[in-house]
């Protein structure tokens, strides 16, 4: 036998609360007002807007806006409705379902973890690979010009035309192995003692004096350039931008309303993701660079040699653990290169035969009138 329950009725026109009693019947909810008048709400026309969570009163609405509302303190009325009219009340919350909610939530948590791993490992790099070819080369060139303006300002470039032409010859020899690529490779040398080189998107390679002076032969420089050219040909900068955009969107989806709250965790995750993709790009540039040397019929041993040299100097100071680094572990890179290089090719093509490499690589040491920056004092 259905029991009468106390509730409040709001008519939607005034803020006055009317005490009523509710009775659950097989087809409708019977509402008896304090003055004895009554009304019936068929279950299939009742909307529930509150009461699906613990601690919420049950709020039932009926009719068009401004709708009539019933507020019942206990969810037991829902259990009773479901027992009395199961077919008509499917859209109303069933308190018995609350037990299952925890399981669903845990399932969702597991799903989130799997989806995040999937997006991180395959989704984001996949999106970047698919989208990168659609980015116009002119856009990359424009971006590249900005990078070069910043990293290699005109007044810091070493421009001895004769020697620069020789260096350029090396770059063009490598570029010739990719005749259909849409990039025009240009090389600039910056008067900076750091041992490093950059590839700007669109085809510009920036070589720092420190690295140039570290090379013992044109072939070693070719090893470095092959790696940097691959960054250009594989469109790594564009992919990085796409990966960061996709990663940010993904993290925004997770954080949603957590805006700010998860900021620290999210910044950490973003930085780690960026580093992970950066290492993947470096590995690709190594491998494809080596293939490029082989295609140009140059000796890949020189690439191994210059990497070896860099590893020696790296051992002198503490390198960060791999997961915190933009570059993969040097030992691992060397092992990959050695494995791929295989035996020395039978007829390696010599680069710049008969030239004095020691003279060419010192192009920044020569005072040229167009340069405002004085020669650096940290001579070896």
């Amino acid at each position: 036998m259905a029991t009468a329950r106390p509730a409040h009725y709001l008519d939607g026109r005034t803020a006055t609360r009317h005490p009523v009693t509710l009775t659950v019947t097989p087809s409708s909810l019977l509402i008896v007002m304090a003055d004895g008048s009554s009304r019936q709400w068929p279950y299939d026309q009742i909307r529930q807007t509150q009461g699906a969570y613990r601690g919420e009163p049950v709020r039932l609405e009926f009719g068009p806006e401004p709708c009539e509302t019933l507020v019942v303190a206990t969810p037991a009325v829902l259990t009773e409705i479901h027992a009395a009219a199961r077919g008509m009340a499917r859209h109303l919350h069933d308190p018995a379902w609350r037990q299952a909610r925890l399981r669903w939530t845990l399932g969702a948590a597991l799903g989130v973890v799997f989806m995040l791993i999937g997006f991180y490992r395959w989704g984001i790099p996949g999106i970047a690979s698919v989208a990168a070819p659609y980015v116009p080369v002119s856009l990359e060139e424009s971006l590249g010009r900005q990078v070069v303006d910043r990293l290699a300002p005109n007044n810091q470039q070493c421009r001895d035309p004769k020697r620069l032409q020789k260096l350029d010859h090396i770059a063009q020899t490598l570029a010739a192995t990719r005749p259909v690529a849409p990039y025009r490779i240009t090389l600039s040398v910056v008067d900076n003692p750091t041992v490093n080189a950059f590839a700007a998107p669109g085809g510009q390679v920036i070589l720092l004096r420190g690295l140039l002076e570290r090379t013992n032969s044109p072939e070693e420089l070719a090893g470095v350039l092959a790696h940097e050219l691959q960054h250009i040909y594989q469109r790594h900068t564009t992919k990085t931008i796409l990966e960061q955009t996709a990663g940010s969107l993904l993290l925004t989806a997770i954080s949603g309303d957590l805006s700010g709250g998860l900021a620290w965790g999210i910044l950490g995750a973003r930085a780690m993701g960026t580093l992970h993709y950066s290492r993947a790009h470096e590995r690709e540039a190594d491998i494809e660079g080596l293939h490029m040397l082989q295609a140009a019929r140059l000796d890949p041993a020189a690439m191994v040699a210059i990497y070896n040299g860099m590893q020696q100097s790296e051992q002198n100071h503490q390198a960060p653990p791999e997961f915190l680094s933009t570059h993969p572990d040097m030992n691992e890179r060397l092992a990959t290169l050695v494995a791929l290089a295989g035996p020395t090719p039978p007829d390696p093509q010599p680069l710049l035969p008969g030239e004095d490499w020691a003279d060419i690589r010192s192009l920044c040491r020569l005072r040229d009138p167009g340069r405002s920056v004085p020669v650096s004092h940290d001579l070896p």
């Binding site: 509150q50 601690g55 997770i254």
Partner: protein
């Protein structure tokens, strides 16, 4: 423990008591409901009240009186509700749970990822519905009527009106090689878009949220015009700059007055009685101290008495509490000057409690790397709602539903600006 005799019974079943500690007077309606287990505290001084009754059964006459009172004044659903003892004061309460919120958020993230982001708006509506459902004023819960569809449409609208111009102006700056004056012009325009976005979003988010919020079945509404708010905003910043910041408290008060005084509950309007001079002193103290601290830091750096990193790190620790103090003063001032009919809102925010709240929140978030967000939300909601009360006679029976939906769908530019959209603001 303060005691009061139950002898001063008045007519109509109400009971008058006086706190013996602070002499505050209270009336208890529905006195027949008091039992030996009832407990309460004095609103003014916090003294505790207990009830001692004789073990007499309620007689027939009292029952008749009971039903008579019920017919005149609808009873509250929560019998534990403290407000019954003092019907002319209503308090805010928040009873949401952080655990439930975290669970909801996990499910939301899962569905958002599966739908490639589309579900975000529905998830947000769900969270809001939960938060509103656990917020009560007096003994009645609020209800949120917004939907994910409306939130997504609002987002698209805002993206079209603000996001697109802003992003394209920014892209023009970074991608195209434009002549210098075009570049400067586009940057200035981007700045203008951003400047206009804040007031327009403030007004329209409020319009939307009010229209989708109800209490006792009556909707709230915001009827301020966007163009008027824009004027107020532009004038406010202009005067603030011209007066080197002195005008700022008046600007803030005007802004708050505009937002509060154009808000309606049904057909009844909220009012704002402040004019800004009340927060002038806290503001001046904060401003002068900020200038002094920054000046001292500048001097220390100029004479190289300390290193730059340490100084920059110390500034938030010195100025943070000061700005929190000002924020507390401001919020208290704004609420204390907001009225509804003859009743006045009152806030018990103090800078100490606000500071404790923020410190606790930051601690929680740092220790858990942000995962304590749901509990921080609950803490914030509880703090801001439970420091609020409405004191004085409120005749809720006179409040009528007033559908203003049609009044905001005018024509022309004001239509575009005044249709109400919601963004994360």
């Amino acid at each position: 423990m303060t005691t009061t005799p139950l002898s001063n019974e008045t007519s109509h079943g109400t009971l008058a008591i006086t706190c013996h500690r602070c002499q505050a007077q209270y009336r208890i309606r529905n006195a027949h409901r008091l039992t030996n287990a009832s407990r309460s505290t004095c609103r003014t001084c916090g003294a505790r009240f207990a009830v001692l009754t004789t073990a007499q059964p309620i007689d027939a006459g009292q029952t008749a009186l009971h039903s008579l009172i019920e017919a005149q004044t609808p009873p509250a659903p929560d019998h534990s509700d403290r407000d019954q003892q003092h019907p002319s004061t209503m308090h805010g309460t928040f009873r949401g749970s952080g655990g439930t919120l975290l669970g909801m958020q996990i499910v939301n993230v899962c569905l958002t990822l599966i739908t490639l982001g589309v579900y975000h708006f529905w998830g947000k509506a769900k969270i809001r519905r939960y938060l509103f459902s656990h917020t009560a004023f007096g003994s009645d819960r609020f209800a949120y009527h917004g939907t994910g569809k409306e939130l997504s449409q609002g987002f698209l609208k805002a993206m079209l009106v603000f996001g697109l111009p802003y992003v394209s102006l920014g892209a023009a700056h970074s991608v195209l090689d434009l002549p210098r004056w075009v570049d400067l012009l586009s940057q200035a325009l981007a700045g203008l878009v951003l400047f206009l976005y804040v007031p327009i979003a403030t007004v329209n988010a409020r319009r939307y949220r009010c229209a989708r919020t109800s209490w006792r079945g009556i909707r709230f509404s915001f009827r301020g015009r966007t163009t008027e708010f824009l004027k107020l905003y532009a004038r406010g910043w202009a005067f603030t700059f011209l007066t080197l910041g002195t005008y700022y408290p008046y600007f803030q008060t005007q802004r708050q007055a505009f937002l509060h005084a154009h808000t309606y509950f049904g057909n009844q309007r909220f009012g704002f009685t402040g004019h800004g001079s009340g927060i002038m002193l806290p503001f001046a103290v904060t401003l002068v101290s900020t200038y002094v601290v920054l000046g001292l830091c500048g001097l220390a750096l100029a004479f190289q008495l300390t290193n730059a990193g340490l100084t920059l790190l110390l500034i938030p620790f010195v100025l943070g509490p000061l700005w929190i103090w000002l924020l507390g003063q401001k919020q208290k001032y704004f609420w204390d000057h907001t009225i509804f009919g003859e009743a006045r809102f009152s806030s018990t925010i103090t800078w100490q409690t606000l500071f404790t709240l923020y410190l606790g929140n930051i601690g929680l978030l740092m220790v858990t790397l942000g995962w304590a967000w749901p509990w921080v939300t609950v803490r914030n909601a509880r703090f801001h709602i439970e420091t609020l009360s409405l004191q004085g006679p409120v005749d809720l029976d006179r409040v009528l539903q007033d559908q203003v939906e049609s009044s905001v769908t005018g024509e022309g530019l004001s239509n575009l600006l005044d249709t109400g959209f919601d963004m994360d603001t």
